[in-house]
Subunit: 321 residues, 2 copies
Amino acid sequence: MGEFELIRNYFAAAPCAQAGEGVVLGIGDDCALLSVPPGEQLAISTDTLVVGVHFPDACDPFLLGQRALGVSASDLAAMGATPLAFTLALTLPEVSADWLQAFAQGLNQMAQGCSMRLIGGDTTRGPLSLTITVFGRVPSGLALTRSGATPGDLLCVGGPLGDGAGALPLVLNQRRTEASTAQALLARYWSPQPQLELGQALRGRATSALDISDGLLADCGHIALASGVRLLVERDRVPLSAPLLAFFGQDAALQAALSGGDDYILAFTLPPSLLADLIDEGWPISVIGHVAEGQGVTLVDAHGQDVTPITRGYQHFRETR
Amino acid sequence: MGEFELIRNYFAAAPCAQAGEGVVLGIGDDCALLSVPPGEQLAISTDTLVVGVHFPDACDPFLLGQRALGVSASDLAAMGATPLAFTLALTLPEVSADWLQAFAQGLNQMAQGCSMRLIGGDTTRGPLSLTITVFGRVPSGLALTRSGATPGDLLCVGGPLGDGAGALPLVLNQRRTEASTAQALLARYWSPQPQLELGQALRGRATSALDISDGLLADCGHIALASGVRLLVERDRVPLSAPLLAFFGQDAALQAALSGGDDYILAFTLPPSLLADLIDEGWPISVIGHVAEGQGVTLVDAHGQDVTPITRGYQHFRETR
């Protein structure tokens, strides 16, 4: 038995590889088998993370496992899907039992939190990278897409933005800050919590949705383009967390929120009449603007003045190396 | 728009990314959406190919695209599944329009041949590698697994074996042979034809199945282990192609067939009573042995003498670099 077959067996024995809802056949055959309940559809998303591009070479494998699956599951949240399962294609330069164990523990912790099962994958030798494909179920016709935003809708987000970008100088050991601030921001980076329940609550309500990974303005641009509308973002209503404000100050915190990316917070559009119910249900929603006729994204100040930055995104870690 | 976003748009416009059966939503949103007909299940398999490990650095991108998808689709054939769709996670060290165009053409050709749709993926910068996840549908309860082989069943294969391994010295430019022989063997390597129709014909008939990727004896070992049986392989009944015999001679051709891998031909077990019908239907089936009580795989000669080699697999390209 080769060392990579040993790794396959190792993952097959992981807690997150045990039988679960919808999983007819898991790891060990030519294919896994999923059953999808009648009246539902399968949502599928694939993400690749490459060492030196998406994460630093020396990063903690537990945190890497946790973050990799969390980021992928966030795409299911953005569709309003209920997570079912995932596959893992892991490429490793060498086999280290310690590394694998820590990585699997991180992966497993996120899998348990999201109720997802590992149903298959591949393990190969090569430069460290991983590709995760996630599967969720969603009632037919109720998936949240990017294309239904309608003039008059509110533009909302599911929580404070910019923390992921705020954590980057800490992840890269470029800057320091006090322990509680660093801890809060690093948790947002290494353990993104996909807003799965919020996504499901938005089914049949939100007219469009996505998870913010490229930065608020860039991602609002995706909704505007797919829906054929204009999105107006009110700068002073963009929610910022206390740790981010403490670390970055107001101006840089706002910049991180507008263009930083790596948030994995939902952004969505909503008919105004549906807002009160969602607030009553306790969802942490902030209204940050609205949908208008036209195209593109416009950032406005408290007086409605256009303050859209000329460059909307700065290059975050993903792009800089 | 970054260059990798351009690549995503490029693939989104590929012929194989157009709408097809079961594809509710393709490339461009947070997730793709698949619908699975009532009474059917979804078969899923993931494979990663890494440059310098699974294919040579300088290989033709058209052939790479074709082979990568063919190899993955073969896992659907092994389950008796009907192909629906696939995702592609492509990691590239640099963006070359020529390379991408040729790769996409090869991918597209295989996708058309298998009636599969590209429904999503990811494009990142890094050392060249690709992860393909394939999706097929199969009537509930009729998927071919490795675990149902029963003593008394016949052991069969869907065609001549060893050609993939026979092509390796040509792929690696280690040996030469006459053009027609080289062409035939290289076609088997670079353009493996997944036995999808045969797999579907075996639903409800074969008691176990897989596609031969690790070599006949090693893969028969997988069936024996999963089914809790012993497989007897009759050496003289293992089918060998004329090009392989011409290039390798009898002994080395047999060795390639037994242990070479990269065949992507189905191996399966079948109640004897069902053989005649399958032959009548015209399937290119060879009976090469049978299933007995016990465990493991035994190779026997024409006199029933045990001639099992001590080492069952040689290290093919996948393992040697």
